[in-house]
């Protein structure tokens, strides 16, 4: 996996709570057998009208949305379906981080496996950032994973939590499956210690 370093970017604000993964990438695009090409379908039903033309009112069709590598969204982002196609679509579009007041569990886990940072900030910080972006759409934030901070447009720094294990994986580009497979002796010992529960091949 690609290592994450400190970066500065404009921010795309999507002030809606409970954005579910069916909105991020509608189910009809899940028939694919690859991970590629999902960026064009990100937020498809909000982004395009019935004839497939870009909806000018939608953020990703405006300069602010096109230039941003950071998405700012309302509470409980990524709820619903477990589809990893959601972080695939977001990263292929060009997003490196999503800022919200909370994330759904499975989405957060999926994001951390795809170098997409789920950044949780307090409500007042989120509200302030939405307000700043309304006044100055070109405002930028700087995100440092190593320091676990977001530097807001006014220069103030906010810390964000991240599981230390996933922080290391993202900073070092550690491969999670490789880490698991190194524990083969423990896995084999565990298997030997208990009887078979079910046999699907029977």
């Amino acid at each position: 996996m690609e290592k994450i370093t400190t970066f500065t970017s404009r921010v795309a604000p999507l002030p809606i709570d409970n954005i579910d993964t069916d909105q991020i990438i509608p189910a009809r695009f899940l028939k694919t057998t690859s991970k590629i090409g999902l960026g064009d379908q990100l937020f498809c039903d909000w982004r395009y009208d019935a004839n497939g033309n870009p909806n000018p009112d939608f953020l990703l069709n405006q300069p602010q949305g096109k230039a941003a590598q950071v998405l700012l969204a309302g509470d409980n982002f990524g709820c619903g379906s477990s589809r990893e196609h959601a972080p695939w679509a977001l990263t292929q579009y060009g997003f490196k981080a999503v800022i919200s007041t909370s994330f759904a569990d499975i989405f957060k886990g999926n994001s951390l496996k795809n170098a997409l940072l789920p950044i949780v900030v307090p409500h007042d910080v989120s509200a302030k950032l939405f307000a700043t972006l309304k006044a100055e759409p070109a405002a930028t934030v700087t995100i440092s994973l190593a320091d676990q901070t977001v530097t807001l447009p006014d220069g103030s720094k906010v810390e964000f939590p991240i599981d230390p294990f996933y922080k290391d994986c993202l900073l070092e580009g550690v491969d999670e499956l490789g880490y698991i497979l190194k524990q083969e002796p423990a896995i084999a010992a565990y298997e030997a210690s208990r009887p078979l529960t079910v046999n699907t091949l029977a």
Binding site: I16, D22, N114, L181, Q183
Partner: protein
């Protein structure tokens, strides 16, 4: 095996199952837990198998893995070709992956094919005390058996295929206690829709729910599955119910359940699973079952639910600006006025199916109401059994005749209009009453509008053509 210092403290069933599955626990890292059963379907697995091929890895435990085709497979006659070539390729890919990696598959023509969360319990794959995963957020369905069942992403599908294990942080515990007798016309679906309307769709984030109390104990296994199924709609990682005699009765004699002496041994272990007296939960909520009414959703997430007789809430009554905007946006999408009940609202489609409500008891409940009645000429009623086995059972009982005589479509097993990626979908602007679990924008077809409800409410609505309180049609 649990170490003595852990056993000394009273534990919830959630902690017991978790402790039983820890392979390793290192400081500063999530625990590595062992997975007893891995369910696979066509949509979330292709990229995981591709990952295995890239690394030259095998599937560690094909004997703990089972695959089916459910999401993108059409529910029309299985002898017809799949016209959607992309879906056809995905299904072929699953067949190839299962053949290459030695995984048993209930494919399109299997007489055991069905929705992944219907076939697991039906075959006896799902058992108490297990850890179960699937690349699907409704995996919590299997929690009805006292299993710890998580939905996972495709990267994790690859991890479990390769290692039999999952890296996972310990969850918080959340007790949902439901006490009292449900009134006529009110069922398991209403219990769970009510819970989600109270805690909100993020209310269970970070938690595993244990459903307890006299109401839960009195539910059948199929009703328990309906409740556990929608745990994710409350944001929970999983939801479960401690096993009891109802559980053992359901499981006994299922094809893949233990037999003979093995069965007795298993039951004696399962009896140790229920939560110890005095065990503490991180969170708790109490629901009075006797006060519940049939529920229906009006908005674009499953937390936007009300009693079927209640009025749609008014965004102006909300103080938080973001919450107000979210509700306004939902009502705009649904094209509904605030402050009025949904009762009497015309619908175009009624969908009875999905992993929430496509089991035999759901079909029986709907058929009982439809018997001798006709579906409104303005409504398309689709009845989609959860599996081929449910389908055959329903036909043996003559339920298919009741549905067809009433004017309903009787289809092949699959996810169907729950997810609208298989040809079954609403047209833009259409309204449905659906027994599935999600009413997100476009979930049942681009521009489609979904009211979630129970099979009884769905059947009543199909007959009248408008959102109906089923209690007005019951004797």
């Amino acid at each position: 095996m649990a170490s003595p210092h852990i056993a000394a403290r009273p534990r919830t069933i959630i902690e017991k199952v978790w402790d039983n599955h820890i392979v390793s626990e290192r400081p500063g890292a999530p625990a590595l837990i062992y997975i007893d059963l891995h369910l696979v379907h066509e949509v979330t697995s292709p990229q995981a198998f591709a990952g295995l091929r890239e690394r030259g890895l095998k599937v560690r435990r094909p004997d703990l893995t089972i695959a089916t085709t459910d999401h993108s497979i059409p529910t029309h006659d299985r002898n017809l070709p799949i016209v959607d070539t992309i879906a056809a390729v995905q299904i072929e890919q699953l067949q190839k992956n299962c053949a290459d990696f030695g995984i048993p598959l209930f494919g399109p023509h299997s007489d055991k094919q069905g929705i992944v969360h219907v076939i697991g319990p039906e075959q006896g794959f799902t058992q108490p005390g297990m850890t179960v995963v699937c690349g699907d957020s409704h995996t919590a369905t299997h929690g009805a058996f006292g299993a710890l069942a998580f939905g996972i992403g495709t990267s994790q599908v690859e991890h479990v295929l390769a290692s039999g294990c999952l890296l996972q942080a310990r969850s918080q515990t959340y007790e949902v206690r439901v006490e009292g007798a449900l009134r006529p016309g009110v069922g398991a679906k209403d219990v769970i829709l009510n819970l989600i309307s109270r805690i909100g769709i993020g209310g269970g984030t970070g938690c595993v729910i244990e459903y307890s109390g006299s109401t839960i104990r009195s539910l059948s296994m199929e009703e328990r599955m309906t409740v556990c199924n929608m745990s994710i709609e409350g944001g929970a990682r999983a939801g479960l119910i401690a096993p009891d005699e109802t559980t053992y009765e359901y499981l006994a004699g299922r094809p893949y359940a233990p037999k003979g002496a093995e069965w007795d041994k298993a039951v004696s272990l399962w009896r140790q699973l229920p939560t110890d007296e005095g065990a503490a939960y991180d969170k708790q909520i109490f629901i009075d079952a006797a006060a519940l009414e049939p529920m229906i959703t009006f908005g674009t997430n499953p937390g936007m639910g009300i009693s079927v007789t209640a009025a749609v809430p008014d965004p102006d009554s909300l103080a938080d600006p973001l919450e107000r905007d979210s509700l306004s946006k939902a009502l705009r999408y649904m094209d509904l006025p605030a402050g009025k009940p949904l009762l009497g609202h015309a619908v175009n489609v009624v969908f009875i199916g999905s992993c929430t409500n496509s089991r035999i008891s759901d079909l029986r409940a709907a058929a009982a109401l439809l018997k001798g009645r006709k579906v409104s000429p303005n409504v398309r009623l689709m009845v989609v059994p959860g599996s081929q086995i449910v389908k055959r059972q329903a036909q043996e009982e003559g339920l298919d005749r009741i549905f067809k005589d009433a004017g309903a479509e009787w289809r092949e097993a699959g996810c169907s209009m729950c997810i609208a990626m298989n040809g079954d979908q609403l047209k833009p602007g259409e309204y449905s009453v659906s027994t599935s679990n999600r009413n997100f924008e476009g979930r049942q077809g681009k521009g489609g509008r979904t009211f979630l409800a129970s099979p009884l409410t769905a059947a009543a609505t199909a007959i009248t053509g408008v959102v109906t309180d089923v209690r007005t049609m019951m004797n």
